[in-house]
């Protein structure tokens, strides 16, 4: 019984720290995005709140928290309040299976415990995919319940976009699963340790998954509703898309969900294609007498990789214009889908030849 109590306490600590780090990273990203966009456009970005504007996220958060939450007349009140939560929860719980550092089995007070992954389930990858598909409900219901034409149109467009690109995400990862023979995020990472030439995006034999990675990252950008695929919130035509009518904390939740999803897909891309916490060159990992600090370098490389992907998201936003809706659907169904399918066929044939 004591065992269960300790286990529970450890798990709760883990979950609280992961959720805390994710929410802090979201706050940091809102600032970073504006800074990076600013620098790319030869501006300074936010400068007023605190030195170099670093307290801007705090100010934004406090403002949104204390703002009036308007429920428009004719809206479905229950659905209108539920939709932001339905959107945020799937984005947060995906982090339960991400390995942030090396696989360690620590014994604390007689309880086996893995400090860097909340739960290593056998179906980790599918768990994330399954909950990513639930994110569409927040968007659809948010758009539908607002009783506004822009919201409804934005919600529908968004839902169709999400399901179209989800298919491509699902197809793009099959190659990696085939090479690693596992659905567990921990096992997939461990199969790639030893340097960047063993990461699935580059591993020359049997077949590098770089094409699959490109498909995955494009589809992920579309799934997180980021530019150039930010059709759901196309300002120039739909005001703000499915959250036109939202204000205050509920609006903040949709925002949180979008950024948490960005972090989540960056983590998934890191784990599936870029070796997770593995250092790009073996000597960059702590060895020998520093073995017990291996987790530090592991977490460092994981963070570096995730932030590289996050920077890519900002870079895309600063560079590319928005697609038209018919272009978006055509691209997803007629370009990405055949490429992802072809990748599966070629990977399986090559894997058979080299096995």
């Amino acid at each position: 019984m004591v065992d269960v109590g300790i286990k529970l306490a450890l798990t709760l600590t883990q979950i609280a720290s992961v959720m805390g780090i994710v929410l802090l990273t979201v706050a940091l990203l809102t600032l970073l995005e504006r800074k990076v966009l600013g620098w790319m456009q030869d501006r300074m970005g936010p400068m007023e709140v605190g030195p170099y504007g670093i307290l801007q996220p705090v100010a934004d958060g406090l403002k949104l928290f204390f703002k009036e939450d308007i429920i428009p007349a004719g809206a479905n009140r229950i659905m209108f309040s539920m939709a932001p939560v339905l959107s945020l929860v799937p984005a947060l719980i995906g982090f339960a299976v991400i390995p942030f550092g090396p696989t360690w089995n620590v014994e604390w007070f007689g309880v086996e415990f893995k400090p860097f992954v909340i739960s290593d389930i056998n179906i980790g990858v599918l768990y994330i995919l399954a909950f990513a598909s639930i994110g569409a409900y927040g968007v659809i219901l948010g758009g539908w319940s607002s009783n506004s034409k822009y919201s409804l149109l934005g919600g529908l467009r968004s839902a169709a976009q999400l399901i179209s690109y989800e298919l491509n995400v699902g197809l793009a990862i099959v190659g990696v699963l085939l090479l690693s023979s596992s659905l567990s995020m921990v096992t997939i990472t461990e199969a790639q340790t030893g340097g960047f030439w063993r990461w699935y995006a580059f591993a020359p034999l049997p077949f590098p998954q770089f094409i699959a990675f490109v498909v995955f990252i494009i589809a992920s950008v579309a799934e997180t509703n980021r530019t150039p695929f930010d059709l759901p919130e196309a300002e120039s035509e739909l005001v703000a898309g499915f959250f036109t009518e939202y204000s205050g904390m509920r609006f903040a939740f949709f925002f949180l969900a979008e950024y948490a999803n960005m972090i989540l897909v960056s983590c998934v891309a890191t784990v599936l294609f870029f070796g997770g916490w593995d250092a790009p060159l073996p000597f960059l990992q702590f060895h020998g007498s520093l073995e017990h600090l291996e987790w530090l370098s592991g977490m460092f490389w994981f963070t570096v990789k995730v932030y590289t992907f996050l920077f890519l998201f900002f870079w895309l936003r600063a560079t590319l214009p928005r697609l038209r809706y018919d272009q978006l659907m055509r691209f997803g169904w007629k370009v990405l889908l055949p490429i992802a399918l072809g990748n599966i066929v070629i990977t399986s044939i090559m894997a058979y030849i080299f096995s």
Binding site: L88, I93, I118, N147, A160, L171
Partner: protein
Amino acid sequence: MVGLDLLAEYLSKYSPILIFIVLALGFGLVTLALSYLVQPKYPEAEKLTTYECGSEPFSDSRMPFPIRYYVIAMLFVIFDIEVIFLYPWAITFYDLGIIGLIEMLIFIGLFVVAYVYAWQKGALEWD
């Protein structure tokens, strides 16, 4: 009783996920509730109207929409099921050998037939 040990280990892997889901839901609901308690509430008829570029909203906003969205959703259901068949195959690929490869090539072949059919019939066209 090897089976029961494995069973306990298996369930102990899923309990953190259940706790995480409950905590995430709780975080969402509690934050919304706290914000509701501290925020000002001054509803006005004008403020509560939905946004329509400044003009008064006319007609019910929950209008019917094009059937294409429905077609996309239907195609998605079918393709999604096909993709799900690929996962158990992918992770047992090295155990299945040549038979696994050939049967999956047949499966993907039929997938492609369905895909080409939908393309040719214009179900993937948007405009």
